[in-house]
Amino acid sequence: MEITWVWTGMVTLSLLFGVVFGRLDAVASAALEGARSAVELGISMAGVLCLWSGVMEMMNACGISAGLARCFRPLLRRLLPNASRDEETLAAVSANVSANLLGLGNAATPLGIRAARRMARGCGGTASDELCLLVVLNTASIQLIPATIASVRSAAGCGTPFDILPAVWLASVLSVTAGLLAARLLSRKGGGR
């Protein structure tokens, strides 16, 4: 729904600016050019995106994501001590984290929701500290190989679309750390529960 507002706002502002600054011709041709470039972008992204979905499926079939999920259990036990007492919640959270790392967004969300539902039981609609932490973890990006971005870069004519990986990793680690720290600090300030 928010995007409807954003879209309407952008188009209307474009019209207003176009009228005020006498750029209506440019705005009109940009609208058509934008629509054309969207399909072009989609098609030039297709190869890399499909290859990557294929690789992810390979990893899934080999049991790599399940192995990764096992590796995260000890860490998650410390991060979410209460929720981890429930074995099924812990399994869902660790599978959620490993799917996020591998960039399997379609798999990660249902797993995360399953965990969130179990953690929200009997709390009367108020999020617990640990549930807030789980959601913050999911609003930060911890994807190891950002394949969609690489495919957009290669569509824009970049020869080495993956050369940003180290930069993405560094920025992701800093961002996740900030999110988790902020969640900790704010929960303490608000009198944790």
Binding site: I3, M10, G125, T139, S141, F162, S175
Partner: protein, 175 residues
């Protein structure tokens, strides 16, 4: 350090395939099955991109984007974020496809290997569609009091944006 990115992909492809073969998994069938799923994802993304890239393209041509970037420039300068990425910062927490459209517009306008193009790509890779995620999780868990989730998640986003610019300067040099 840049070579690391080039090593990851071929190494990963071959390592996963060899490992899968060792476990007697039909990795090639898995690959093609996954690629098919990639196509269905794309089919969902393209219509959204048509709408969004049309809007972004108009927004840039009308001069509204420049105005918006100029408006946020003083704050962004403080954080070391290039002002050209201002529209990306605003769209990112709300819409994943919108952010994809804005970032691809930035890469086209400045070049994918330019400072701004790289920062846009790293920003996209180190943040998520925060409000959408919060709505989906709390909505399906029946939570109405989200307490400190939104501020903490936005702190992560803001850090991600500033860190993206910092990381690009670190690995590829400044503008």
């Amino acid at each position: 350090m840049r070579d690391l990115g080039s090593l990851v992909i071929p190494l990963l492809l071959s390592a996963v395939a060899v490992y899968g073969l060792g476990k007697r998994v039909d990795v090639y069938a898995a690959l093609t099955h996954g690629a098919e799923e990639g196509l269905t994802v794309l089919l969902r993304v393209i219509p959204a991109l048509v709408g969004l890239l049309t809007a972004v393209s108009m927004f840039r041509a009308s001069g509204a984007m420049e105005w918006l970037s100029g408006l946020l420039a003083p704050v962004l300068e403080l954080l070391g974020i290039p002002e050209e990425t201002a529209p990306l910062l605003l769209v990112r927490p709300v819409s994943g496809n919108g952010a994809l459209a804005v970032a691809s517009d930035l890469m086209r306008a400045h070049g994918p290997d330019s400072y701004v193009g790289r920062v846009a790509a790293v920003m996209l890779g180190s943040t998520e569609t925060t409000f959408y995620t919060i709505a989906v999780y709390f909505g399906s868990a029946g939570i109405t009091k989200t307490r400190h989730t939104v501020p903490a998640a936005l702190a992560a986003d803001l850090t991600g944006f500033a860190a993206a610019a910092l990381a690009v300067r670190l690995f590829f040099g400044g503008p």
